[in-house]
Symmetry: C2
Subunit: 203 residues, 2 copies
């Protein structure tokens, strides 16, 4: 098994943290996107969308999409459960993981893609789009602060994939856009302290 | 159990088809978005993002997000499996379901939101965004045609949630944007025939 990795990508980081939380040791193969290593025929045969992360199994099967990789690893190594325990709990983790992905991570990535120098020649940047999504990110951070009232973690009372997605979103927001959790948001700041003090946070 | 529904929404349709494929009979509660029924305090207490579909259980628990609802129903009613059988198969269904969601459904919704009259007062419409995403949709339909070569269904050799998401994407593309599967794309047209001839297609 090997994991094709894009070190700075929030999606790749989600999977690396998931792997570390499971206590697994999967060899990483860094793919240099700036050198178009993800667009070679060899790589495109593994993932026709040319994206990372990608998990290649020993029989050559390739699993793309961060959450599909996590789902596979959860099936093989159920402990500790990061995608929920019983039916309702699994639904709650899925709901919150998706909310973190759609309400935080994607708008943050949208702001970055529509403003960053490195994407200038790769996508048609739309500054108005970046503005709209930056406002959206701010509003969703306020929403999440309220939703965290009385909660230790995002989906339930333990650390799950929903926390991983949220924490990788905030890492990117800070590093790429300078957006931080406002000081007065005590729920989010306590949660941030809780998740980033885990030994896996820098995976 | 009851399902808060938005009849014309592709996300709500995905869940209705999933429910019908499982042979379940869950009462539908239509929510009128144009009358802001999804923004009442009562509804916002069930889903603080004010969106449909939403599954309310008899104990009052509420599950938002289409795929979280499907995950819950799959756990309770595993037959027929619509989210995969073994670990690798589940990963493949998740991968393809997400690809259909991110590469087809979301760009189609983005074109609609950025052009439709009904969204004029609800979102800040960006015509350039609609153009970029419409090109994206076209490119992804071509990509999918190639990916379907030699395959009966999108994720594996049986009908799964990945097909449901793709079919609801094409329903919306046609109804809302007039985008159809080009005649010369035989793989996609055969697949379309296959999925829309199922008794659940009009759920």
């Amino acid at each position: 098994m090997k994991l094709y990795d894009l070190p700075a990508s929030p999606n790749a980081r989600r999977v690396r943290i998931f792997v570390a939380e499971k206590g697994l040791d999967i060899p990483l193969v860094p793919v240099n996107m700036m050198e178009n290593e993800n667009k070679t025929d060899e790589y495109m045969a593994k993932n026709s969308l040319g994206r990372m992360p990608l998990l290649e199994l020993d029989d050559g099967s390739c699993i793309a999409e961060s959450m599909a990789i996590c789902r596979y690893l959860e099936e093989l190594h159920p402990e500790p459960p990061l995608l929920g325990r019983d039916a309702l709990d699994k639904a709650m983790v899925e709901m919150w993981q998706r909310r973190m992905e759609f309400e935080l991570l994607m708008p943050i990535i949208a702001v970055f893609r529509n403003t960053a120098e490195m994407f200038k020649d790769r996508v048609q940047q739309i500054p108005e789009m970046a503005e709209v999504e930056a406002e959206n990110v701010k509003a969703k951070i306020e929403w999440l602060e309220k939703e965290l009232e009385g909660k230790q973690y995002i989906a339930n009372d333990e650390y799950t994939a929903a926390d991983i997605t949220a924490q990788c979103s905030f890492v990117m927001a800070k590093a790429a856009l300078g957006i931080r959790i406002p000081e007065e948001m005590s729920n989010l700041n306590q949660w941030w302290e809780r998740v980033t003090s885990r030994p896996t946070a820098r995976a």
